[in-house]
Amino acid sequence: MNITRKTFLRGLTTATLAAGLMMTTSAMAQAKEMRIAVVVKALGIGFFDAVDKGAEKAASELGDVKIIYTGPTNTTAEGQIQVINSLIAQHVDAIAISANDQDALVPVLKKAMKRGITVISFDSGVAKAGREMQLDDSSTPLIGKTLIKMAADNMPDGGEVAVLSASATATNQNAWIDAMKIAMKADYPKIKLVSVVYGDDLSDKSYRQAQGLIKKYPDLKTIIAPSTVAISAASQAVEDAKMTGKINVTGLGLPSQMAAHVKTGASKSFALWNPIDLGYAATMVAYNLAAKKAKAAPGAKIGMGKMGDTTLNKDNVGVMGKPFVFDASNVDKYAKMF
């Protein structure tokens, strides 16, 4: 009831605005600028500050877009609701959010959509009813492929690799390792996976497991660690065993933790989602949806600017791309961010 009245009022405003447009052209520039709000889990987190950088990059590329980078002080759903309410009040054109709670934000985001605001989630998603689409950082097959490719790039003649994972029951890691095995069989026949061990995401246990691998397999060429804890522990173990140059450590890691190990040479390269790309892609998607250049529906292709297109699955979830590879050439730049 009240919403219809609201829509009516909005309609009235739009009509007045349209009448104004016929008379003045200066009002047109005002109305044309699109405001996209990037709502993050909390302000003051390096990862999200980098997301903002990417969003600004997209905005300057698009030209007529203004980014509102905002979020609560603490990572709470209540704080994000307050922020979203003030964004609805400002009649922003689009909201791209990384959610603190996938369910609690649904009512307020539904309200935003009812009032004509395009809502997408990225990184940490919102339940289906509360957004038009979700942009995932990456997908399991792409992570698996990237892991084995990083290993293969530094061992052109093939050889032995081992995996140091988190725990045996970690759903994410197991899925990535399985995807990696599939990619290995298909594209890298000369590489042999000799062992998968688990460090339970504990630094000391991961370190000991890596030491065990180094001793047990004298011909080991690469340790693949798809966990941020395991990869730095393995790098440390390789350095301490004076095997730098003989054994390469790769996997998924944080640039801030891995920069030192890249410098010593223990790790030639590693991967993770690039927050700058994520902010860029999320902004591009939000822009395309808000500008009605694309529509979020299963199977739809939505442009992400220079990052290509993303195709939505049946739950309206799109994937940004393969993980971003960090090496000696760029790790210092990103280490300052996250």
Binding site: M1, T73, T76, A77, I81, D101, Q102, D103
Partner: protein
């Protein structure tokens, strides 16, 4: 007035300079404080009107009231509790356990009526436990409620872990998302009704007089025949009950429950109460002050939100306001005799 009779032995010669006496010296000082707060609220309102073109919109202002209504429900009984010289820091955790039990009941198929009953009942039971510990065993309320703060939320974490309850009946949405008429939400109307009810209870009943008496002089109050234990117990029950009300509204507004719900709200409620001029040492304060403080906090958060000012700046601003509230009367108390002396 009766304020004066209560403190009459100390008005002539004050050996210790306890600042809250300032308020009780006359209704004038108290009134002027609320007047000041009202001025602040009006000033912020006017500044907001100029700062953002989106501020003066009935629907936006209506949305903004959600920033303080639920906190306000709890701030009313909390004000009375603090006036009586006690405090309840477990209120946010009461919301968590209440919401969790409501979620569990909803998952088992309970209807709206039963959910509301569970919400109010859980709040009352939690309040009763606090009351028992404080008045029954004579433990300090700050210690007891810091304990129950962990206890109640702990239950939520045990029941829910990293899961969430999301299946609430559609009818429950009215409490946190419904409107009584036009832009006046259910929560806003309830806020006004509760403000009037608590204002009458505190300022126009014998019960309210007794609350002030206990806060000013608990021993004296007991010797004058006031059943201090019973009155404190009722205040804890009221605080629990209103936390239950807040839990129902918040659960309805979020449409889901996680154990981290309303995290950190206990300090926001205390902030609102103290900003409203309730002396943290007990004995003085008013419901009108709390209402004005709620408005000030709501207007500041919404106004800053419209300008996309980072939340941390809002926290700093509220913090400065709060320090100002506590420091001003003391500064005034120190300066007044000097100025008077200079004039004399």
């Amino acid at each position: 007035m009766s304020d004066a009779t209560l403190s009459s032995p100390s008005t002539t010669a004050t050996p210790r300079n306890i600042p809250d006496r300032l308020h009780r010296r006359g209704a004038r000082a108290l009134k002027s404080w609320e007047f000041l707060l009202a001025l602040v609220a009006v000033a912020i309102f006017v500044i907001n009107c100029f700062a953002s073109p989106y501020f003066l919109d009935p629907w936006n202002l209506s949305d903004a009231t959600f920033n303080f209504t639920e906190l306000g429900f709890i701030a009313f009984p909390m004000a009375m509790l603090i006036i009586a010289g006690e405090i309840d820091l477990s209120v946010a955790s009461i919301i968590a356990i209440t919401s969790t039990l409501m979620g569990a009941a909803a998952a088992a198929g309970a209807g709206v009526g039963l959910l509301v009953a569970i919400g109010l009942g859980t709040g009352l039971i939690c309040g009763a436990f606090n009351a028992l510990m404080v008045t029954g065993f004579g433990l300090p309320s700050i210690v007891v409620t810091i304990g129950t703060m962990s206890l109640y939320r702990g239950f939520s974490y045990i029941i829910l872990g990293s899961n969430a309850y999301t299946d609430y009946p559609a009818g429950l949405a009215y409490f946190g998302q419904g409107y009584v008429f036009w832009v006046f939400s259910f929560e806003l109307v309830l806020f006004v009704a509760l403000a009037i009810a608590f204002a009458i209870l505190l300022h126009a009943t014998r019960f309210g007089r007794a609350v002030y008496a206990i806060g000013n002089n608990p021993v004296g109050a007991r010797f004058s025949g006031i059943r201090t234990g019973r009155i404190k117990a009722i205040l804890f029950l009221l605080t629990g009950l209103l936390s239950g009300v807040a839990a129902i509204c918040l659960t309805s507004r979020l449409g889901s429950t996680r154990p981290s719900i309303a995290f950190g709200w206990e300090l926001q409620v205390v902030t609102m109460t103290v900003l409203g001029g309730v002396s943290i040492l007990g004995g003085s304060g008013s419901i009108l002050g709390v209402v004005l403080a709620a408005l000030v906090i709501g207007l500041v958060t919404f106004g800053f939100g419209l300008l996309n000012v980072p939340g941390i700046v809002m926290s700093i601003f509220i913090g400065l306001l709060l320090i100002g509230v506590i420091a001003l009367p003391r500064l005034y108390a120190r300066l007044k005799p000097r100025v008077a002396a200079r004039r004399g």
